[in-house]
Amino acid sequence: MALRLLATPFSELLPLILSIFSAILAIVLPLYIYKYFKGKLKGLTKIEETIKALEESLNKKYEELSSKYDEKKFEDLTKRTTGIEEELKDIKIRINTLDNELKKLRKPLFPLQVEEEVKEVEVDTLQQMQAYYPFIKYIAIITSQGFTVETLGNAVIEPEKLLEIVKLSNMFTGSREITLEKKDEVLYIFYIDSLEDLDIYGILLAEKPMNIKSLGVVKKVLQNYFRKKELTG
C-alpha cells in the first residue's frame, strides 16, 4: 500500500492531501476559537458585576440624598445668594465713587509737570493778558515793516529780527507762524491780521513748562484783543 502510494504521482495525491488537511482544520479551528473567547467572556462577566455593584451603591446614595433634600431650603439659599450679589455690586460702585473723590482730594507731594488747562478770556490791555497768563514773559504786536504797535515786557531779541525768522519760514514752508524752544522758554511768532500792504504779527515769549495748545489759546486772546481795537478797519 505504501509502495503504491509512493509510486503514484504527486499531482494525483494533491487533492487527497488537501481534503485531509481541510478535515483537520475543520476540527481544530472551532476548538481554538472557543478556547480563545472563553477567557475573554470571563473578563466581561467580571466587568458586568462591578458595574452592577456601582449602580446599586449609586442608587443607595441617591436615595439617601433625596431623603435629605428640602426644596424650601434650596429656594432660600438661592434668594440669599442673589441678595449677596446685589450687595456686592453696590459696594463696588461705592468703592469706585469714593476712589474718585479721594483722587480729587489727594494732592501731589511734588509739583507735577502736568499743566492746568488754559482758558480763553477777553482782555482790554496787554497787562490784563499777562495777569491772566503769568507764564507769558513778553508780548508784542508788530507790523511787517518791523515797527512794534504794542509791547509788554522785555524782549530777549529785537522783535524786528524775530519777524525776519517768520518771513524766512514763510518763504520756505508757507507757514506764517513759528515756534522756537530753548531750555526754559518758548518763543511763538504768528500772523494776526492784514491791512492793505501791512501784515500784523504777534510775538509771545512764554516760560516752560508750556505746551503749544496753551500758547494757541493765548494766541487767540491776542488776536481777539487786536481785532477789538479795530485798527484794521
Binding site: 507790523t143 515793516q145 515797527f147 504797535v149 492793505e196 500792504d197 501791512l198 500784523i200 485798527l231 484794521t232
Partner: protein, 129 residues
C-alpha cells in the same frame, strides 16, 4: 455837511487813535492849499501844507526815473519827530508826530483812514486830468 468838516472828523479820529503821538494832521491839495487840518494853529497847518506839497513835488520828479509814483514818505526830524505823508492823485495827507512815536501804530492808523479820507476829501484836480 461840508467836505472839510467830514475830513476834519477823520483827522480828529486819527489823532485820538494815535494816543497822543500825532500832534498835527493836515489834508491838502498838491498845490499846498489845505482842505482841512487839526493843528495847534492855522499858520502851522498852512506852513505844513506848503512844505509837504513842496517835498512831494520834489520827490515826484523822481517818479519818471523810478517808473513808479510816490505813495508814502516818512521824514525823520532832528528832534526825533516824524512827518508821515501819504499821497493820492491830487491830494496829500500829512501827519506830524511827537518825538519817538509809535510808528507801527501810526502806520496802521494811516492805512486805516487813507481810503476814507480819499473818498470824503476828494483827490483834487490832478486826479481828473
Amino acid at each position: 455837511m461840508q467836505t472839510s468838516d467830514e475830513v476834519k472828523k477823520i483827522l480828529t479820529r486819527i489823532i485820538s487813535e494815535a494816543l497822543g503821538t500825532v500832534n498835527m494832521a493836515v489834508y491838502t491839495w498838491k498845490d499846498g492849499i489845505p482842505i482841512s487840518y487839526v493843528a495847534p494853529s492855522q499858520s502851522e497847518a498852512e506852513f505844513m501844507s506848503v512844505a509837504v506839497a513842496a517835498a512831494v513835488g520834489a520827490l515826484e520828479s523822481l517818479s519818471d526815473v523810478l517808473s513808479s509814483k510816490v505813495k508814502r514818505i516818512d521824514i525823520e526830524l532832528e528832534n526825533k519827530e516824524h512827518i508821515l505823508i501819504s499821497t493820492f492823485d491830487g491830494s496829500i495827507l500829512a501827519l506830524n508826530t511827537a518825538p519817538k512815536p509809535n510808528l507801527g501804530l501810526i502806520h496802521l492808523i494811516l492805512r486805516k483812514y487813507e481810503k476814507q479820507i480819499k473818498e470824503k476829501g476828494g483827490i483834487g484836480l490832478a486826479g481828473n486830468p
